[in-house]
Amino acid sequence: MHRMANKTNLTMAFILLFCALTSHAQQSHIGHLVGNAKHGKALYQRYCIFCHGAQGDGNGDSAPYLDPKPRDFTKATFKCRSTPSGDLPLDSDLYDTITRGVHASGMPSWRPLLRQDRTDLVAYIKTFSPRFQEEQPVAPIQIPSEPPTSPDSVKRGGQLFQSMNCGLCHGKEGRGNGPSAASLTDTRGYPIRPFDLTSGTRLKCGDSDTGIFRDLTTGLDGTPMPSFASALKPDQIWDLVHYVATLRAASK
């Protein structure tokens, strides 16, 4: 009898664990908001399906006319993240991309949608890849506070720009015209241009200094832009940020 009760308890525990695990993938959390994938699906079919497709594979009806191509959610590879290269994004990363939009692409800002709606969309987008169920969420990268910029920091950053071979893609002066630029493709094989840092246009994943620090640390997955996390110390990444700021300022 006692054994039976134990068994029932164990079964219950497993069912609860299963529910917890599966519901985790169907949900999203932004602050105190909890996203609902079912509601997210209805929104997706109204707003997102034309580009990202019914299967979430980026093959919607408009996709052939778009450059860069809409994101393929089934691979769960995302450019704009706060997590290390290769890891899944946080809910807030997907939410921020939906809210901000992706500059110089077909992805508009969805800020006009309610916060709850955007949170629901995040929950639904996570259902397209089993990775969100299989993999544990990882901690975001640390961004230490920014030291003030200085001529020395900019100088060190310029040296890093050269020694890290940034110029081979972004060009010696950061114009996006390095010798390897023409060869670059994204993971799906479509041509992709390195960012022209002197163009004065907005960056894809947000424009602040901390945003650039984050991009350099995480890399933009699915593109040729690598992560500098294991190669540079935070102070060096700040130097690089300060140097890039001078390239960008020159255009203004």
């Binding site: 691979k75 590879t77 290390p84 290269s85 290769g86 890891d87 990775r131 020694s163 890290m164 071979n165 081979l168 893609c169 390095g178 010798p179 390897s180 060869s183 670059l184 993971t187 890399g219 997955d221 699915g222 593109t223 040729p224 832009m225 690598p226 992560s227 500098f228 996390a229 294991s230 190669a231």
Partner: protein
């Protein structure tokens, strides 16, 4: 008196533990030894039939720090020897090990970037085995594996900075490239078992310590596709198997 008692107990305990360890250890080694003696290996050659396509020179002038390798650097799409031996072919057990699981080896595999090329051109590892990526060049590389069934990462690697990669799932094979040096191409083959080999200059391969059974052996080449053959391995038998690729 009591202390003496405890001492005796301790001595007895030590004797029991030591003898148990010895017996178990001996039993384990004998089991492992028996396993090897009843297993066989598959050996053979991989050849290319016809005239292999000519390799072309790689222009590395965009990065002067690659120069050391530039004098000899050639494309590695098809590398065949004078007698037709085909290099860079992964030969592996594709079928016949169902229901068995294998631990990854503790020893890491090594992928070296030298002369702005990957050494070896094709590296084969077990799932979750560490792949030690080494940059022996005087320039910065980025190592960008582009898997279909594993997580995609992309790390920059300046000279001398260590970097380890692992892949959780079997995939034959993951193309890897360096975006800053677009001519750099290589492959990482990932297996869930240890029965694989990559052919070298002589085109030969050996799949060691295979338990008796019937297997599908597959040969994979990055440009020439795959071929499969069935083979039966008996205890202590070493069947031979050859593969011939054409363009």
């Amino acid at each position: 008196m009591k202390i003496k008692d405890m001492k005796t107990r301790c001595v007895w305990l030590a004797v029991v533990v030591v003898s148990a360890t010895l017996t178990c250890g001996r039993w384990l080694t004998s089991a492992a030894a028996a396993d090897t003696s009843s297993s066989g290996s598959v050996t053979g050659m991989v050849k290319f039939d016809g005239n292999p396509p000519k390799a072309s020179r790689i222009d590395m002038s965009s990065d002067p720090n690659c120069k050391s390798g530039a004098s000899t650097a050639m494309t590695e799409d098809v590398v065949a020897g004078a007698n037709g031996s085909l290099e860079n072919v992964v030969v592996f057990v594709a079928d016949g090990l169902e229901g068995r699981t294998f631990q990854p080896p503790a020893q890491p595999a090594v992928l070296e970037q030298k002369g702005c090329s990957y050494r070896p051109h094709v590296v084969a590892i077990q799932a979750n085995q560490k792949l030690n990526v080494v940059n022996s060049d005087a320039t910065t590389h980025n190592i960008h594996p582009m898997p279909a069934n594993n997580r995609e990462s992309n790390m920059i690697q300046p000279p001398g900075v260590p970097l380890d990669l692992t892949f959780a799932r079997e995939e034959i094979a993951i193309p890897v490239k360096c975006n800053v040096h677009p001519w750099m191409r290589g492959y990482i083959a990932v297996f869930k078992h240890p029965y694989f080999a990559v052919t070298g200059k002589d085109g030969g391969f050996e799949l060691k310590d295979l338990p008796p059974g019937t297997y599908t052996i597959t040969a994979w080449h990055g440009k020439l596709g795959t071929q499969s053959q069935k083979v039966t391995v008996g205890a202590g038998q070493n069947p031979k198997l050859d593969f011939v690729f054409k363009q």
